[in-house]
């Protein structure tokens, strides 16, 4: 039955996606909710929360206020908190309860901006969409609102922007450092990773970068906007595995207009492996895993499936969207995969039979704190080592 979930928890919601992107930027993030939605993000979707001084608050919404549409109380609370906290900007996010009441966030934002003289970003999130939509909207809003083409160029201006790498998709800080390390190996410095590690100034100067690297579906809209507005080229993909790593470094150097370091002599396919494989997860990561399996191990039949958004331009013909939990067991039964790769929580829902091997690769946007401390080194040679261990007959 569509909508009924017997095995899987809900994915991180849209408001968590927005908060994940804006978490480190020094703003005050206010989820207009009664407390539970904020607790979702802080306790279950944000591994950086513990020990952090980021100002993420619940508006403390109550029933009477919602029913009466008393937005003045909310605005007063927001104003008081802004006076106490002195943030550099304010972000207002919606949740299911005010969605029912049809709150006009833009009007509230305009009023708050007038009262506090601070920039106010709003997101009409409702807890019904998944985190990837929230992340995408947040990255796009950063590109539209914070990137300043007239920002003074300096030695510290970013050469590369990574857009789309958040703890919900890529995982721990260590994993994101692994990705940055691959880009550094390609000869770049001053790498600005939006949402994780980069400052507002780095984002303001983002139009000076030679290239944008899109690390998840969520980064696509912002990268397309940057191409249209500032002619910044973008590359979609992350380097999982040895051979894909070499190609990745060559391709981003080319796209950035830099000379070749050395010819990619090591890039050739290995012998064929007939095992039929399914990767379940976020599209850009799943594509990267597929490329590694194909180039480093010769697996030819690798499909990608996701509960999230799929961009047509990045999709192989056989890739598909999962609409509900039941789809997992249905496709597992119909397609007889030899290998399935995905978050550990998918395994039970797939109800795998016979010889199918399941390779666990946690996706924090699904399994949250259950596995977010389990670090796997995937970028560059790390990805090859990981699969070499798990693909052994």
């Amino acid at each position: 039955m569509e909508g009924l979930y017997k095995f899987l928890p809900p994915f991180a919601p849209d408001y968590s996606g927005v908060c994940s992107v804006l978490f480190e930027l020094g703003g005050m993030l206010v989820i207009h909710d009664a407390g539970g939605c904020t607790g979702n993000f802080t306790g279950y979707d944000e591994p950086r929360w513990y020990g952090s001084a980021s100002a993420v608050f619940s508006s403390g919404l109550r029933e009477r206020e919602t029913i009466l549409g008393d937005e003045e109380q909310f605005m007063r609370r927001l104003q008081d908190a802004a006076e106490a906290m002195k943030p550099s900007f304010i972000t207002i996010l919606g949740s299911p309860a005010p969605m029912v009441a049809g709150m006009d966030y833009r009007a509230v934002a305009a009023a708050i901006s007038r009262r506090t003289r601070l920039p106010v970003l709003t997101f009409d999130t409702d807890g019904m969409k998944k985190y990837d939509v929230g992340q995408s909207e947040a990255f796009l809003k950063l590109a539209r609102s914070f990137v300043n083409p007239r920002f003074p160029e300096s030695q510290d201006s970013p050469q590369v922007n990574i857009i789309g790498a958040t703890p919900l998709d890529i995982g721990s800080k260590r994993a994101i450092e692994g990705l940055i390390n691959q880009i550094e190996k390609a000869g770049f410095s001053n790498i600005s990773c939006w949402g994780t590690g980069s400052s507002r100034d780095e984002i303001a100067g983002a139009a000076q970068a030679k290239i944008n690297i899109v690390a998840s579906w969520s980064g696509l809209a912002a990268a397309r906007y940057m191409l249209a507005s500032y002619q910044t080229p973008f590359y979609v993909g992350i380097p999982v595995g040895t051979r894909p790593g070499i190609l990745f470094r060559r391709d981003i150097r080319r796209l950035a207009g830099l000379a070749e370091d050395s010819p990619p002599t090591a890039v050739c396919r290995v012998g064929k492996d007939p095992r039929k494989t399914l990767v379940i997860g976020e599209q850009v990561m799943s594509n990267a895993l597929r490329t590694c399996l194909q180039m480093d191990f010769g697996l030819e039949q690798v499909q990608v499936a996701t509960f999230l958004n799929l961009d047509e331009s990045l999709r192989d013909e056989a890739d598909f969207i999962l609409k509900c939990e039941e789809d997992l067991a249905v496709i597992a039964a119909q397609k007889n995969y030899d290998l399935v790769i995905g978050d550990p929580l998918y395994e039970e829902a797939l109800d795998l039979k016979g010889e199918t091997r399941f390779i666990k690769l946690a996706h924090p946007a699904l399994s949250s704190r259950l596995f977010w401390d389990h670090y796997v080194d995937l970028f560059g040679e790390g990805g090859t080592s990981f699969f070499a261990e798990h693909l052994e007959p």
């Binding site: 017997k6 968590s16 009664a34 306790g43 001084a53 993420v56 029933e63 019904m128």
Partner: protein, 436 residues
């Protein structure tokens, strides 16, 4: 960002609201959610009903923390989610689909469930959805008891806040019984009283052989036996509405007898309980023994500095008072709520320890508290442990139920053990499965 953490002198806390359920934080403020704050969520409390499963009906987001915490706690096979779509919510079709989803769970889950709890959330409160009618239809169709609970924090400051109403839902499964047994129920809390507590011996000494608690019941039938007990002993305030319902509907009177940590308060609670049960409880030997052991613990611990939080199995004010009486230095309390029971202890602290400062956990300025984290030796409660980052932390969680004189001694033992073998606080928080 800036902002000096907001706090109150204990004397100012006493001036807040005259009664009821006042909050320490000024009403018109944003809420901060520090790591370590929270308790048992609605899902966990609802699933105390033996052989039950829960169908959680909500926009997808609302179920996330309950799901992950539930998976951590091993409830995966008893917890199901129906995600409402915007379309269905607007047209009201989701209510029909809830009935279908309940039917699918009842018909497909093996072994067949014995009881179903449907949990609705804030959006259905606002829409005025009639879940009681849904429960009646599912019951009639599938011949199993079905109850409704709500995880609706928008009602948190109302009379039927979710932590109260979920206990009403849980105990509403009990059938009315005309038979009365010489037994007592412990209600309002989430675990049976520790077996080593003198509580069991004291009640046995006045003829109560059977002490029942929902978490000790392995079957629905055993749980139903609670409807035959003569008395309810209410340990925690959120069980108050359930206790009142059982008094009105089942004729089982109740007495509020919260766990306490000051020897004098424990004695007073036991005396009140004895009056309620119609027997004087023979406390003296237990009291003397506890006082003797306490001396040893005080010597062993020394005059350490302790911070007390609210995510604990106690009233933070009563516990702070008890620790101060035992000679410890308790300069900081982290708490958001004041219950009627707290009042006399707040007054004691005001009179005897006026330097005590109280920090509301949820005040937005607490976001910067770690910048000047105070030096204390020991924190009791995961919330206090977070704010006092150098302290060793006794979680003192709700997962077990210390009680009486033995409860104090067990806490002292935990303090000694924690000082010698501290655990990583972050690990403690993430392993605890507490939810806001």
């Amino acid at each position: 960002m800036s902002g000096q953490p907001f706090s109150l002198a204990i004397g100012d806390v006493d001036k807040l609201g005259p009664s009821g359920y006042p909050r320490l934080m000024p009403r018109n403020y944003m809420h901060y959610c520090p790591p370590g704050m929270g308790g048992w969520g609605i899902v966990r409390v609802g699933l105390l009903v033996p052989e039950s499963v829960m169908l959680f009906v909500s926009p997808a987001a609302c179920g996330r923390h309950g799901a992950i915490a539930g998976f951590q706690l091993g409830f995966k096979k008893r917890l199901f989610f129906f995600h409402i779509s915007e379309n269905d919510m607007v047209t009201g079709q989701h209510l029909e689909k809830v009935i279908q989803a309940a039917g699918e769970i009842i018909n497909t889950i093996k072994p067949r469930l014995r009881a179903l709890i449907i949990c609705a959330t804030c959006v259905d409160d606002l829409l005025g959805s009639d879940y009681d009618a849904i429960a009646l239809r599912v019951e009639a169709e599938h011949k199993i008891p079905v109850r409704i609970c709500h995880m609706d924090p928008i009602t948190r400051e109302g009379k039927t806040a979710p932590e109260f109403s979920v206990q009403q839902a849980v105990y509403s499964f009990l059938p009315v019984s005309k038979e009365r047994e010489r037994s007592v129920n412990i209600i309002g809390n989430f675990a049976p009283i520790d077996q080593d507590s003198e509580f069991h011996g004291l009640l046995l000494s006045v003829g109560f052989e059977k002490i029942r608690h929902i978490a000790a019941c392995s079957s629905l039938e055993e749980f139903y036996q609670m409807g035959r007990s003569s008395y309810n002993i209410l340990l925690k305030h959120p069980g108050h509405l359930a206790a009142r319902d059982l008094q009105r509907g089942h004729g089982i009177p109740f007495c509020f007898a919260p766990p306490a940590y000051s020897i004098d308060t424990i004695t007073a609670v036991y005396e009140q309980l004895g009056e309620f049960l119609g027997h004087k409880l023979p406390l003296e030997s237990y009291r003397e023994e506890a006082l003797e052991e306490l001396k040893q613990y005080r010597l062993s611990l020394g005059r350490i500095c302790i911070a007390v939080g609210e995510s604990i199995n106690a009233s933070p004010f009563e516990l702070a008072r008890a620790l101060a009486e035992y000679g410890f230095n308790v300069p900081y309390i982290f708490a958001d709520n004041i219950l009627p029971f707290d009042k006399e202890h707040i007054r004691w602290l005001q009179y005897k320890r006026p330097e005590t400062r109280v920090f509301p956990n949820m005040h937005p300025t607490m976001v910067g508290f770690l910048e000047n984290s105070p030096e204390v030796d020991l924190a009791i409660g995961l919330d206090a442990g977070y704010y006092c980052s150098g302290a060793r932390v006794v979680p003192h969680s709700l997962d077990v139920q210390p009680y009486g004189y033995r409860g104090v001694l067990n806490l002292m033992r935990a303090m000694v053990q924690t000082l010698s073998r501290p655990r990583d606080h972050r690990e403690q928080v993430y392993a605890s499965s507490i939810v806001i």
